[in-house]
Symmetry: C3
Subunit: 156 residues, 3 copies
């Protein structure tokens, strides 16, 4: 992976990017501030533009939640490409806030959010693709989406 680009790494995964979502409110999906790319909270958008919904520990298992988190990661990548054109312009992941829609007795938030973090690590590598993180359980999320993730990246 040392000699391949983030775009090449992504292509190797054989995954599809969903359409970049349009904002559901008064906000920008991404915003550049100097060397930093701020990314709004994203949900798991599927290729047909519908959302992965359901509460983990209720209608969904932790493994289904992890797949939803990966889909959030793909949705973030789609927003980034729509905004700045290429994943290669990103140097590294600085911070991820992973928010899980789950029952109050759910305990495996890190496992769920790894679905997104492992995707980023495959694209930008085990060092640059991994930042600080919090993975926590929310009372509820918009449209009952299973996972919402916001992120901060450093640009080249």
């Amino acid at each position: 992976m040392e000699n391949s680009t983030p775009e090449q790494n992504f292509a190797q995964l054989g995954l599809t990017l969903p359409p970049a979502p349009t904002p559901a409110g008064v906000y920008k999906p991404c915003l550049i501030d100097g060397k930093h790319l701020f990314v709004s909270g994203h949900g798991p958008v599927k290729d047909d533009k519908t959302l992965i919904v359901g509460r983990i520990g209720k209608e969904m298992t932790a493994d289904q939640g992890k797949l939803a988190a990966r889909q959030v990661g793909l949705t973030i990548l789609s927003s980034i490409k729509a905004q700045i054109g290429s994943l290669d312009k990103i140097k590294r992941v600085i911070k991820v806030l992973g928010m899980v829609n789950c029952e109050s007795d759910f305990e495996k938030h890190p496992y769920v959010i790894n679905g997104c973090s492992e995707l980023f690590a495959k694209i930008w590598g085990d060092d640059n693709g991994v930042g600080v993180r919090s993975a926590v359980g929310m009372g509820s999320l918009p449209n009952n989406i299973s996972v919402e993730i916001e992120a901060l990246f450093e640009l080249h």
Copy 2:
């Protein structure tokens, strides 16, 4: 709006700023770091210094929540003015984290937080007044306030 200042835009709205809240714990309402103004989580302080309280989807409707979010925005503006003197010193909104005190089946968090975001957009404009955002549902909030919002701004 192109040729008016944020302070002029605010005056046009005919809204009143509540008194700037004193911290309810060991924190600063605002903090300047280089070009950035960090703002602590604020609640909806009313002109008489009481708080808008209640859980959305239980005692409050989404529309009442949206008004509470606007009141949080006004409270943030009050803190900013107390800290740096003028809204004109702020160049743009970078990031908003909107936290809604609501039932687990509530789904309209973006609609609620728009109450704050639309206020900021009227003051700083549709580009500079709109940043990235997450709008999510919390398990609970201090004093049972209906909405809490933290924010990051860029200074001139």
Copy 3:
């Protein structure tokens, strides 16, 4: 305190640092970005490496929650020392996000998170040790830990 260092201030407190935790997922405990030290969400690790668990307002009182928040603060200090060697390299606290695992009718989140904030204030002083903050109630936290806190510091 004016003439003592953060390390000296910490030593004065007579408190013990727990072992620095290893990440429970795909993330870094700390990350340096220019002058900023980002710290992942940390839980309350005890000296024997076990975690303080339990929901505040249910199995735990607010005072027990405040002690848990102090333990989170100590765990963050331990991670920082493991990462950069000395608390003296930190100039000030910029931001704290305090997340409380509590029942939906709990209202004293600021009181709980003060357990961490008061610790930081004793180490870096009443100005530099106090940043902006949000203190909020989550639906759930990993492993049912009582408190999780993420933070942003400025380095010298």
